[in-house]
Each structure stands twice: as C-alpha cells, then as structure tokens.
Symmetry: C2
Subunit: 205 residues, 2 copies
C-alpha cells in the first residue's frame, strides 16, 4: 500500500508521525511525504522540519491519504493545490484519512458532505457548520473516510487502518514492535479544568 | 528549558516526535535537533527525513537531552562525536533521557554504569551486559537519568518529565492539548504470540 501524507506549513508533527509509524512499520506499506513542491516544511512549533520528497502531481494515485492537522489548518483549507489534489486523488484511494483538524481540510476539499467525522475535542463541533456530522469518538470510519481525534489519536487510527487492510496479525505485530502500551499520566476525564489552558497551546488561526 | 535531541541515521521517528511533542508544546520549552553537522537525517524506514538545525558543538549545554532509538543504534554507539558530546553535555544537564534503544547509546557514553534503566522489551535484558540494571517499566527515573521503553513510550516519558520540571498543571494541559487518551486496539498482554514477528519489524544491526 502506498500512503501519501501531505505536509503544509505549521502542521502538528505527531499528527504526521503517529500514523506514519503505525503504517510504515508494516510489511508492504510505503509512505511518501508530499507538498506543493518537494522540500522542507516546518511544523507548528517552528523547530521541526520534515522533508516532502514529492509534489502533489508526482503522487496522483496513492492508495491511502492521511491529512494532518495543526495551526496551519485554515491556510491549508484555502490552498487549492492541496484541496484540488485531495479531491482528485480521493476518487481512487482505498482510504482517505485525517488526524485532528486535518478533517477540516478534507471538508474544504468537499469530501465530508453528509459524512460522520471527528476532530480534536476543541473543534469537533465546528464540523457541523461544514455540513458534516460531528462525532466525539477516537477514530471514526464512514465508508472509506477515516477521521481521528486530536494529535495522538493518529496512532490508534493507523493501527485500526492496518488491521482492516492487512489483517489483525499485522496490526498486532506493529503494536508490539512500537511497544504501544500507553500509560498516560492523567485520566483525561479529570482534566476538564485545564481546557482553556490546553486550547492556548494548540490554537488555530 | 532547552532540549537537544540528537538525530543519527536510521533513528525511529516516533522515538523523536513523541517526547518532542510533549515537551515542545509546553510554554517556555524549546527543542533543537542536533547532529554531527546540521542537515537532513533519514529514519529507519528510509522515508522520513528530519532536519538537524545545529551541530553538537553549537549546543554544548542543553538543559535536557533526549536520545532516540532505532536500527541505527549500534552505529550511534560507535559514533564518538555523539557519545563524546553526550558525556560532556550530561555534566550540565538537568535531565538526560532516552527512548527505546537510545538507552544503549547513553550506556556507550558511560552514563548508565550502576544505574537502573529500561529499553524496548526486545532488548532491555541486554543492558545488563553493559553494567546497567535492566528494569521492565514504561519510564524509569534514576537520578537525572530518565529512560523510556520502546518507541511510543517516549510520549509518556515526555509528559512525566514535564510534570516534574514544570508542574502537573502544565503536563495536564499538554496531555489535554494533544488529546492523549489512547485506545490501543489490542491489550499488550495478549500479544506474546506475535513477538517473533514484531522483532522482525524493528531489528537492530
């Protein structure tokens, strides 16, 4: 399976590297980072730069697309080179996916009309204004559209995609290889009082 | 706090980006990717390239070091520019940390003698041969040395480091911002039968 992950300025790095790791570790899967032009693309913190190795035109028919989120989402929604590629490539994908606010980029490309989809907890309700049914779940499948909740949810999504496409044995081997036995220090249900502070760390402009 | 993350050929990307995300999202924290020379460094899959923006010499006194693991570990253990920098910089760090097989690089720099430390489940026992007490825990603190288990454990380590250094409120806000409420598809305790298959996906040479 050939996966294309588009990079745009101010993407969130873990949105990219979570699903990348789950998928690229699997035998027979290959990931290409794409952008308007091949070259360096810098993340939301201004400190991590990933290389795009191909232009959108060079990867017209990937089997899987994973669109990351990040503070650069609004600019990405207005980037017609990106949304045009998404709309055209989606016609031929097996799976079209997003992490975090990446679902808003899928919506901007016209791919979420009438669909159930998710996003980061801070913005998921805004999907409604785009004609999409917001769903507060970790990973949402609707046909071949797959959306994940905020940032770290891309790891869970990657493993679920792998299970569906390559079988549970492969997904289990990858989960074990990346020792994905997470121990978050806090129970998320206890953190509601930190919501304002959290949103300051991940605002979209 | 200034964090330096050394990159070496065939590092595992999530070992880097997990702790990077936990720490770089926090107010007042800054991360620099370092290498022998600034420039691109490619990961274990051959498909993800991160930019190192400074040489080791340019970052002699970071507050925190996080050494990733990956199939390139053995070569990294023999890279005296890296191990020399680690040994010298460690004298002044607040925390010196590793993810996955990165603990073997700390050992090669002479930093784990007589210490308790962890690594990926597939190699943790081999730490004993390096004069270190292997501990099968997710994150191990021994003085200012912090080691994390395989690949994805760096996220947990990053949040724990943040809690100790910047307070629990900050760690909670970051956990919420990155929506770290993981739902691994499989219970790790049920996956022992996949161990051989998993190790083929993450061998070190």
């Amino acid at each position: 399976m050939h996966v294309a992950i588009p990079l745009y300025p101010r993407f969130t790095a873990l949105d990219v590297v979570g699903p990348y790791t789950a998928l690229a570790f699997a035998p027979g899967w290959k990931v290409t980072f794409v952008a308007g032009q091949p070259g360096p693309v810098t993340d939301d913190q201004g400190s991590l730069t990933l290389m795009a190795t191909a232009s959108y035109e060079e990867v017209p028919r990937p089997d899987v697309i994973v669109v990351p989120g990040g503070p650069g989402t609004v600019a990405a929604m207005n980037d017609t080179a990106l949304t045009g590629w998404l709309a055209a490539a989606h016609e031929h994908t097996t799976w079209t996916a997003s992490v975090c606010s990446g679902s808003f980029v899928l919506a901007a490309a016209g791919l979420l009309a009438g669909r159930r989809a998710t996003s980061h907890w801070g913005w998921v309700e805004h999907l409604q204004g785009l004609g999409t049914e917001p769903v507060s779940e970790r990973v949402v499948f609707d046909g071949k559209i797959v959306t994940a909740a905020g940032v770290s949810a891309g790891i869970d999504m990657g493993l679920e995609l792998l299970a569906r496409e390559s079988g549970e044995g492969t997904a289990q081997a990858v989960q074990l290889a990346i020792e994905y036995d997470p121990r978050p220090p806090y129970d998320m249900k206890t953190l509601d009082g930190r919501r304002d502070e959290a949103m300051k760390l991940i605002s979209i402009d």
